[in-house]
């Protein structure tokens, strides 16, 4: 038996993969199946799940409503579609701004002299030592009406005797965007830095040698060769932003509700796990679709992941 196993490479592979496959099944596949089953169920009046097969929850998400103003038995309510749309556009927005901020930073760090480079990387990582939620609260302190930003602007205004109304920054979509960009910035800086650092400096010299100035070298050599980092960073940022509810919860209040918040409230406040499950699956499907088309076009940035 052992002898045969020694000769059979594929059986060895299967055996080695078994523990991983067990945990994948127990912690990923089964919960997902449960979510799927629950999403087809119905909420009982006291908040339990009645197992049955109904598409009501999905219909509700897509706008079918029985709670109508004009007394009709069914009507269209775009509330949940709006939430889905808001989530997806915020994820795109966040990714866009994160790339815009992270690229120059990563470029600067990659070009810095090796002694300082480690210090800069360290500075990028330091915020991650603090809890995610606490960092979001810090932004609340900065953005609120009596917050640091308003105090600074107010005192400058008073110096010049300009009347100043404190800005309403907290609980706006902008505040959520700022929070998201801040939270996910390091996840973009690091892969871009890695891909930039891997570029052999003789390639810059070769480009200059062949007649390219700094801008042309950047556009034709540096940027294309660092794309794997941008792709890897985009995947690392886009997917979590789609599902996060803490940032919008704290900085968006009731104004900015995302899918993440919707799911959380269905499970905890509204006590409707069936609707929450359906929303979870829709979120997953949306994320998969976007990621699928993105990776089909750009790959996974595998060179970075492997490195």
């Amino acid at each position: 038996m052992l002898q045969r196993l020694r000769e059979n490479k594929s059986a060895q592979g299967t055996l080695l993969a078994l523990p991983t496959m067990f945990w994948m099944f127990a912690l990923l596949i089964i919960p997902l199946l449960l979510t799927l089953i629950i999403s087809f169920g119905r909420r009982s009046p006291d908040g339990d799940v009645i197992y049955t097969f109904t598409l009501d929850n999905y219909a509700r998400l897509l706008g079918y409503s029985t709670d109508c103003d004009n007394g009709a038995s069914a009507c269209f309510n775009s509330l949940y579609l709006q939430i889905l749309w808001r989530s997806i556009s915020l994820a795109f927005n966040t990714t866009f701004w994160v790339i815009l901020l992270a690229y120059p930073l990563a470029y600067f760090i990659a070009r810095a002299n090796p002694k300082r480079r480690n210090m800069f990387l360290f500075l990028v990582l330091i915020p991650l030592w603090t809890n995610f939620v606490i960092r979001v609260y810090a932004w609340m302190m900065l953005l609120r009406k009596e917050g640091a930003i308003n105090i600074v602007i107010g005192s400058i205004a008073s110096l010049f005797d300009i009347p100043f109304q404190p800005l309403e920054m907290l609980y706006t979509p902008g505040a959520v965007l700022i929070g998201m960009v801040y939270e996910f910035l390091p996840f973009m800086i690091l892969p871009i830095f890695t891909s930039l650092e891997k570029i052999d400096t003789s390639l810059y010299e070769a480009a200059a040698d062949l007649g390219a100035n700094g801008i042309k070298t950047f556009l034709r050599v540096t940027l294309p060769l660092s794309m794997p980092g941008v792709v890897a960073g985009t995947i690392l940022v886009f997917i979590p932003v789609m599902g996060t509810f803490i940032v919008s919860d704290i900085l968006g209040g009731r104004q900015v509700i995302l899918v993440g918040n919707l799911i959380q409230r269905q499970f905890l406040d509204a006590r409707d796990p069936t609707f929450g499950s359906a929303a979870s699956l829709i979120l997953m499907i949306m994320t998969l679709i976007v990621t699928y088309f993105y990776t089909r076009k750009f790959g996974f940035g595998e060179e970075i992941v492997v490195a």
Binding site: S202, L203, E205, A206, D209, L210, G211, A212
Partner: protein
């Protein structure tokens, strides 16, 4: 062509500060003139300043002191993309995200050449390096030798005044190296472009170059044709670095009509009638150098400038047999060409055999000390 010289270095110094904080002259007051259409090599071991000199011509580094002239014009801080020189890098530095065609076309696109022109010139450049049909491949799909050819084509397509090559054959195996050496040399002759070639391989430099600058410790030790450098090395370093030599310490005993008598205590003898260059004086301590293949072995019969010795070892290496002989405790190596079949073991000298080593005066070199 505005100048007789394609490239000129005038008293160029490049100073670096080492990580330990010490000033280091990587290039130390180097002056050299490279003629138009010449195949010029800078030869030396690593750290001799050859690559730094090349990088200063390309514009990747700027001299701390002195000036680099290209076609008679002082370069100052002119960036690389404004110099009419192109470089073939040691690592090839091919753009991995571009095809062979795109790599070669890159330099022409930067010039703003139109599409038809680019297509025509890239095609011709690839023909020149025998890579027709490889246009759509990526560099990773090519062998080392093919990548090297792409790098050459990418530089030559720009029709530079001067092509700089930084150990371009370093990564290739011996056989391919030899092939590429001949190809590069043929290409240079065909195009008439000035080549400046950096290498640590003396055979490579000898094979290809019109002139060689032998460098060490940031200085040019000797600049001349391969024959001059081999037959008349300027100092002990060059004599030792290029080919092999036997060295002895000696002292000039008498000097007349450019011929000297040199006392060589190590050999318990005097060398008579040795031709010497100017600048040596009577009584001066000198180094005597003679190439192993220029010593003649006789079985017996003493004459002027011959020494009795005992064979200590013979090594057969195909084209030559290396014979090591002991003369008063000094080991002397002699290379004998195998002009006859050596199948008969009796054709070799035996260990312990008495021999006479004959050194013809014109083969003995008298080198200044230091």
């Amino acid at each position: 062509m505005t100048s007789e010289f394609a490239v000129e270095l005038r008293d160029v110094v490049k100073r670096f500060i080492t990580p330990e904080g010490i000033d280091l002259n990587a290039v130390d007051h180097v002056t050299m003139q490279i003629k138009n259409g010449e195949f010029f090599s800078m030869l030396g071991s690593s750290g001799c300043g050859k690559t730094t000199s090349l990088r200063m011509i390309a514009g990747f580094e700027w001299p701390t002191e002195g000036e680099v002239y290209i076609e008679g014009r002082p370069m100052g801080h002119t960036p690389p993309f404004q110099r009419k020189v192109n470089t073939v890098f040691q690592s090839y530095a091919l753009f991995q995200h571009m095809t062979v065609f795109q790599n070669v076309a890159f330099g022409l696109e930067m010039e703003g050449a139109d599409k038809n022109e680019i297509e025509k010139r890239v095609k011709r450049a690839l023909e020149m390096v025998q890579l027709t049909g490889m246009e759509r491949r990526k560099p990773k799909q090519l062998s080392g030798g093919q990548q090297q050819r792409v790098a050459v084509a990418r530089s030559l397509v720009k029709v530079p005044d001067v092509l700089l090559l930084d150990e371009p054959l370093g990564a290739l195996d011996l056989k391919l190296r030899k092939e590429m050496q001949l190809e590069l040399k043929a290409l240079q002759q065909q195009l008439g472009i000035t080549f400046i070639y950096v290498t640590h391989d003396q055979e490579e430099a000898m094979t290809m170059s019109d002139r060689i600058a032998v460098m060490s410790k940031g200085k040019v030790q000797q600049l001349g044709t391969p024959v001059e450098i081999y037959e008349r090395p300027a100092n002990r370093f060059v004599a030792d670095f290029i080919g092999e030599s036997n060295f002895f310490e000696g002292k000039i005993k008498s000097l007349a009509a450019k011929e000297a008598c040199v006392v060589v205590p190590e050999l318990h003898a005097e060398l008579i009638g040795i031709p010497v260059s100017d600048g040596l004086v009577n009584g001066e301590e000198v180094t005597i150098s003679i190439r192993p293949e220029k010593i003649h072995i006789a079985e017996k019969g003493m004459s002027q400038n011959s020494f009795k010795g005992k064979v200590t070892n013979t090594v057969y290496i195909g084209t030559d047999t290396h014979v090591f002989a002991d003369v008063h405790g000094k080991r002397i190596k002699v290379f004998e060409q195998n002009r006859i079949s050596r199948l008969d073991p009796g054709s070799f000298y035996t260990v312990g055999q008495d021999v006479v080593l004959v050194m013809m005066p014109e083969n003995v070199l008298v080198l200044k000390k230091g």
